[in-house]
Subunit: 692 residues, 2 copies
């Protein structure tokens, strides 16, 4: 089979389209009015803090990344060592750049969105969403073009069956940066949040986002570093990992599809980018009183429909095997993927929104105190793992079956196609995600600058929709992490077979009854809990530092409580930055070192079991932590909306406890686990040769 | 190899010794003074409630068990169906009987221990501990003799290589009853506890164990049904499952050891029973002010030393293979098991006692409120899984290596020997465990009967040591459940190979890269969380019923708060009984049905992955729930001892929240998970033929 040049042309087309759209969006955002001086001052402080955090964080990660690259160079001898090390650094760099772009646009758009909120809801929505869209497009396109470029750089044109394995290092680099970005950002955001709340709201009795609170800027910075930079790196990594995993699985079908099977993932992703661009540009509210969420949902629907149409043509052109393969089955697999992403997002809503039973149950339990609130939340969090697991299982089995129907031995490729379907809307979803912290920041700026009631009310509504989009993206991110990990797991099995000289359709000779396999699995599960423990504890430790600093300022800065003395915001930002970065190193390194040790000591079979169980437990714990945390958050909001006693009641106090507990669950440990599962996969895949 | 009759004689010897000792202990306990009328009245109410719960619970379980037996009879056709069904019912019955004995002696000894506390600490300790010892001996001996009897009944003398597989049904029956006993008992005990506390302490402001609280008797009944009947059934099952699993692994070595390899587990257990008897009889405090825990630890040490000596002779006699096998390696494996149990117990102490860092950390976090208390507790609970997993992994690998050194292909048998070593002290450990609820009840009776200060102070000290022994036993129970499940998992692999006509040393042909294997594993992990969710929620639901009943009585019973009107204790007991039993059925059946469905639909390979991951995640979650709950409990006790503000301070209030959250974790969900992992193993083993 010859490469389908018409389809391959979609890759640069998508790249150029994304570039033009991004420039258009950037110009759109930058040209918006910046509001009054007070607002600009606050936004300037946030921007400064956020960029300072990022540059310090990247310095730490950069040093670690160079060390790992050197180790790869020494450990993996010969040209493959060079290939892997360079791919690793490229992936790391691309991930860092996409994090930086996301952060930069967010701290640019937040001020404009706040200013726009003084005019109309629609203006504010468009500024915030288009700011988010820049991140979505940048992340997705960088991943697409990065993988494509390194594929061709490593001889993808001349020997396409070997190049995909050489670029695994790219995924490893991306997940390496993503882990630290998500973990460090997650610790920062919650330490600042918890610290600001405990001293400000609880001890000093001043409202949230009050300018007298020295930690308030750090809190607003935190939204950016956690949700923008962190989640951006996470999904950059998911898209890169899925592309690479799917390309590796495409190698096995080279005799049938030729290079088209290997490049299909990249073309499918390109279709997703183009569809997302059109979806993004379509977003607007129809009336000033329309809920912002409706507008975002319409745009999502546009994207999904365009993707579904586009994928039909791509599968027809690239996966027909010269007329010998029934490509409609593969198209079916792609639709399974799209449907799965929809159900994941829906389940997340069901478990975390107060319209439904689970959050109501937690709110009800709050009436008998904090203990019953916590018990109900844990119970809901545990329960919320069930539907996603069943859906994920059904999707994997259905896609495998469809792939096998399309052609014998095409099962795994069917799951790869489904994964591409699921992640095809990623640019749009990321736009919605980054919209979250922008609206949150816009609300904070509006509050702190003493804006008129009308503007506050608008940013509150935007903020509420931003909370929803953040929660949904987490559901989407777990689902995509699980599928990406499944692909990479399958790719690992393929690679081990290859290294052992076995045919791809030969069963992987793992003796599950061997103790070392059981032990590998045992350690995989334990690692997830140990990591979660350290991540949660890190928030507490970093928060203590913030609390002490805020108390000191309240004590020492003259006139601070009367509003005449200016709090030292920058001091707080610095302190959280140093605290969070210090706490992120050890847990991050444990995650990197453990799979290497398990593989090197207990060998490839145990590493496979380690990887499988680590992935599964990681996904399940992420679901528990994310959904439990989200449900607690909204149970509090349900009571604050005037139910079960409303704000200030004992029920509310109990619900605040649950919300605080949920914070490090849903914003630190949970999201870091998405990255962990992908990091485990890429690291074992890169080092598979060491485990034989 | 001929059967070693000298060694086999130890089995009936142990049985007779246990019987004589039990009779001696029963007579000792029964002859003790029963205290004044007030005490007898209260103890009578507890006894009545406990026995009523048990008979209702057994009626429900009995119906379910008969249905399962009929299904087995129909599903497993031919004589094997009869064998399995009868073994199942025998196991179920034996488990029920041991639960009944434990409960009966506990409700007999509690009153005598309370009466003895008016005389001296030593008297009270001996009565309570000897009461507990009756349970320990009864449970262990019934399991030993039950397995032995059914082994010979199914032709163990003529064809010893086939009999072990026929008796798997015994383990299935035992775990079936144990699951419901532990789950139902766990829901009962915590629903009564939470209900009594929330209305009594919090709403009405009366102290714990106050006779005016209508739920106080239900609370005391709960200690018996959860910790005696529940844990008794749990450890009955562990011993039965380990015996059976080890015997099945002994079949593979039949050419070398003959029937001795198959019967070694029973003889090793007999040695443990005899050693435990001597250990039990040695327990006494040296002075009235010696901590009771010291006396119990001395007895444990005596037992361990005797076991270590006894096992040397048993391995030398039974595992020398006619001089061709270096039995010392097997003896080494047995010592590894003994050591593992010690480390497990030590780790549990480290994570749950307030002398050490983890509990202190939680107590410290309580000073900043309930939210930080919960976060710290979850973090400690997650962390507490690490050491046990590493120890368990090291033990499995070391025992496997020792077994392989003893003879080629002897690795798995090495792990079986280690397991026998670990569980050899089970009778003593169970005695310590049942001691817990007896002292707890004695404290309650003393409190309610208005005993002199001196007696109260003694029962408080006994109660504190009882809390420690209960926590330790849980650590021991998880460890033994994990090892038992590993043995049964290995036995399952052996059985599948046998059914497929493969040699025992042939690798099990599981293709870990197949989606259905991944899906089986995914569902295994999810089942554990779903079950935990329903178990935790069940406590909340049943507690609501108690709360309403207590409120009703406070409202309607005249003179109840003045102490002139008598609360209707029995009404509360009835209501919790019905509530708890109703809540236990659905989660229990889900656990039974899911492995059958996974195996029947996705077949043996997926079932193996399901079993492996279900076991691992079950053990890890049990560790998290048990240790987290225990740590919260003792963080509260640490503050109550006068630290960080002491009783009544804000720190104390925060710690009470953690304690309440931990209750359903450590006494309902956690212990039920021990049983769950063994039930998954026995059920897949019994139905392995269905999965091919």
């Amino acid at each position: 089979m010859q490469p389908h040049m018409g389809m391959l042309a979609l890759i640069p087309t998508a790249g150029v389209a994304a570039l033009i759209t991004s420039i258009y969006l950037i110009l759109y955002v930058v040209r918006q009015p910046k509001g009054d001086e007070k607002m600009q001052e606050i936004a300037g402080a946030i921007r400064e803090g956020a960029l300072a955090f990022l540059s310090r964080q990247y310095r730490t990660i950069g040093i670690l990344a160079v060390v790992v690259a050197l180790i790869l160079l020494v450990a993996v001898r010969g040209p493959q060592g060079w290939h892997t090390a360079i791919a690793f650094l490229t992936g790391a760099l691309a991930s860092a750049i996409s994090g930086y772009i996301g952060m930069y646009t967010a701290v640019t758009a937040n001020l404009r969105a706040a200013a726009a909120a003084r005019r109309s809801l629609n203006d504010a929505l468009r500024v915030a969403f288009r700011g988010g869209a820049i991140t979505g497009l940048a992340v997705t396109t960088l991943s697409l073009l990065g993988v494509t470029a390194i594929f061709y750089a490593y001889g993808g044109a001349s020997h396409p069956q070997e190049a995909p394995l050489l670029i695994v290092g790219f995924g490893f680099g991306a997940s390496f940066v993503a882990l630290f970005a998500q973990l460090g950002g997650g610790i920062y955001t919650k330490a600042a949040d918890v610290g600001a709340d405990l001293v400000g709201k609880v001890e000093a009795g001043i409202p949230e986002d009050d300018p007298r609170n020295p930690a308030v800027v750090a809190d607003l910075v935190g939204d950016n570093v956690g949700d923008c930079a962190g989640r951006g790196a996470d999904l950059f990594e998911s898209t890169a990992a899925e592309n690479i995993g799917a390309m590796i699985l495409g190698i096995a079908l080279f005799p049938i599809f030729g290079v088209n099977g290997i490049l299909f993932p990249l073309v499918a992703r390109s279709v997703g980018v183009i569809a997302s661009i059109l979806g993004i540009l379509s977003v607007r509210v129809r009336r000033d009183d329309e809920p912002p969420m409706n507008a975002l949902n319409r745009g999502y629907l546009v994207t999904i429909i365009l993707v579904a149409i586009g994928l039909f043509f791509v599968t027809r052109e690239m996966l027909n095997g010269g007329g010998k393969v029934d490509y409609l089955y593969f198209y079916g697999a792609a639709l399974v993927g799209v449907l799965t992403s929809y159900i994941f997002v829906w389940t997340t809503q069901y478990y975390t929104e107060y319209r439904y039973r689970p959050v109501r149950e937690i709110a009800q339990a709050s009436t008998t105190g904090p203990a019953t609130n916590i018990i109900a939340g844990v119970s809901v969090g545990f329960e919320s793992t069930a539907i996603p697991v069943v859906v994920m299982s059904a999707a994997i089995l259905a896609a495998y079956w469809l792939g096998s129907m399309a052609l014998p031995g095409g099962g795994l490729y069917g799951t790869a196609v489904a994964t591409m379907g699921m992640l095809s809307t990623v640019a749009y979803v990321l736009a919605m995600d980054t919209y979250g912290p922008i609206t949150d920041n816009a609300g904070g700026i509006t509050e702190m600058s003493g804006a008129p009631e009308e503007a506050r009310e608008r940013t509150d509504r935007l903020d509420a929709s931003g909370n929803t989009t953040k929660a949904l993206t987490k559901g989407y991110a777990v689902g995509s992490a699980a599928l990406a990990a499944f692909l990479l797991f399958s790719a690992y099995i393929d690679e081990v077979k290859h290294l052992l000289g076995l045919a791809p359709d030969h069963p992987f000779p793992i003796d599950i009854g061997q103790p070392k396999v059981f032990v590998g699995a045992f350690i995989g599960a334990m690692l997830v809990l140990l990591f979660s423990s350290t991540a949660i504890r890190a928030v507490g430790r970093a928060a203590q530092v913030v609390i002490q600093e805020v108390r000191r300022q309240f004590r020492e800065v003259p006139g601070i409580m009367e509003g005449t003395g200016r709090p030292e915001y920058g001091k707080c930002v610095d302190i959280v930055t140093v605290g969070a970065l210090k706490q992120m190193v050890i847990p991050g390194l444990v995650v990197v070192v453990t799979p290497v040790l398990v593989g090197a000591i207990l060998k490839a079979e145990a590493a496979a079991a380690f990887l499988m169980i680590g992935t599964i437990v990681g996904v399940i714990m992420a679901l528990f932590l994310n959904n439990g945390g989200g449900a607690w958050d909204n149970a509090k909001k349900f009571i604050e909306a005037g139910n079960l006693g409303g704000k200030g009641s004992d029920s509310h106090k109990a619900a605040v406890v649950g919300d605080t507990v949920g914070d490090p669950f849903k914003d630190t440990a949970g999201p870091s686990l998405h990255v962990l599962v992908k990091l485990l996969s890429t690291i074992t895949l890169v080092l598979a040769w060491l485990f034989i």
